[in-house]
């Protein structure tokens, strides 16, 4: 039913429930995430609720470069989040491992292990940037419901950022996972 679908899209965008998980971070990004729930920034005006269980949440927020100890826990928790789900990598550590780039205790950036939808850069990112990231993730969830995309993003070969997607030359060897909304044939 079209009306039900629209209602579902609207509800998904206006009710993002988060689960926060620390993948070995210095706690700076975690503190800024909690600061985004304080009166000045108030994530609850968007309907955001920080939930206690991964099964309740839609959006998984991961901080920290993923240490060897944390990888399996993060993969388990990602599987426990019920679909449709989105993943936000908060801070520059989960995206690129930041200053820890040659450390031997790390298992690599987050996108090597689970598909990531939104990256919020910063060290640590400001709480308002985190709220912008959550809003973008909620929009992505609503888009997925609207276009009936698969619940988890598909793995696609890397397309270079500056070339408009015309060719698959890329400038990095590893395949990254990225969710591209399919062009719906009208």
């Amino acid at each position: 039913m079209n009306l039900w679908n629209k209602l579902m899209c609207y509800s998904r965008r206006h009710s993002p429930w988060l689960f926060h998980m620390n993948g070995g971070s210095c706690n700076g990004c975690d503190i800024e995430l909690i600061a985004s729930l304080t009166p000045r920034y108030d994530a609850e005006q968007l309907g955001v609720r920080l939930e206690g269980s991964p099964r309740h949440a839609d959006i998984l927020c991961i901080t920290g470069p993923i240490t060897n100890n944390a990888v399996n826990a993060i993969k388990t928790v990602y599987d426990q989040v019920c679909g449709p789900k989105a993943v936000i990598a908060i801070g520059s550590c989960p995206a690129t491992t930041n200053v820890f780039i040659e450390s031997r205790t790390l298992a690599g950036p987050l996108s090597k292990h689970i598909p990531v939808d939104v990256f919020v850069p910063g060290c640590p990112p400001r709480p308002d940037a985190i709220i912008l990231g959550v809003a973008k993730a909620a929009e992505i969830l609503a888009e997925r419901a609207g276009k009936k995309l698969p619940i988890a993003p598909v793995v696609m070969p890397l397309v270079g950022p500056g070339c408009g997607g015309a060719c698959a030359c890329g400038n990095s060897a590893e395949a990254k996972t990225e969710e591209k909304p399919q062009e719906v044939a009208q």
């Binding site: 520059s92 690129t96 930041n98 060290c123 400001r126 990231g133």
Partner: protein, 135 residues
Amino acid sequence: MNILAMLWKNLWGGPRTMLFPKRPVVTEHFRGQVRFNPDLCTGCAICRFRCTAKAIEFKAGKGEFTWSYDPGQCTFCGRCIEGCKTHAISQDSECPPVYTTIGELKTSYTLTRKPPAKPAAAAPIPAIPASGETK
């Protein structure tokens, strides 16, 4: 009973929240993104050497070099700005935006090496007195 007075004041005093998507004005010395001025860069690569997070990449070619910066990798420490002799890079207060693909925010510049500026006609070096008489 202080808490009840506080709750009453909060209830009638209005919320202190910034309505989304309004963002607060940051302080004067807030460390945000690094900005690059290609005209002033001499290609010394001190910034790449000093960068703690390897956010600045430098590839030297024949007569030209490529300088690239990824705000997603950056930790905004400011060591690169301290090291640059010609002030080609500077730090402003803008936060990098939220992105969805890795490497989306990376910017690269390919610049040709400028010939070093000839120093002005140097003053002749004063002759050292041979007999050691003091001046």
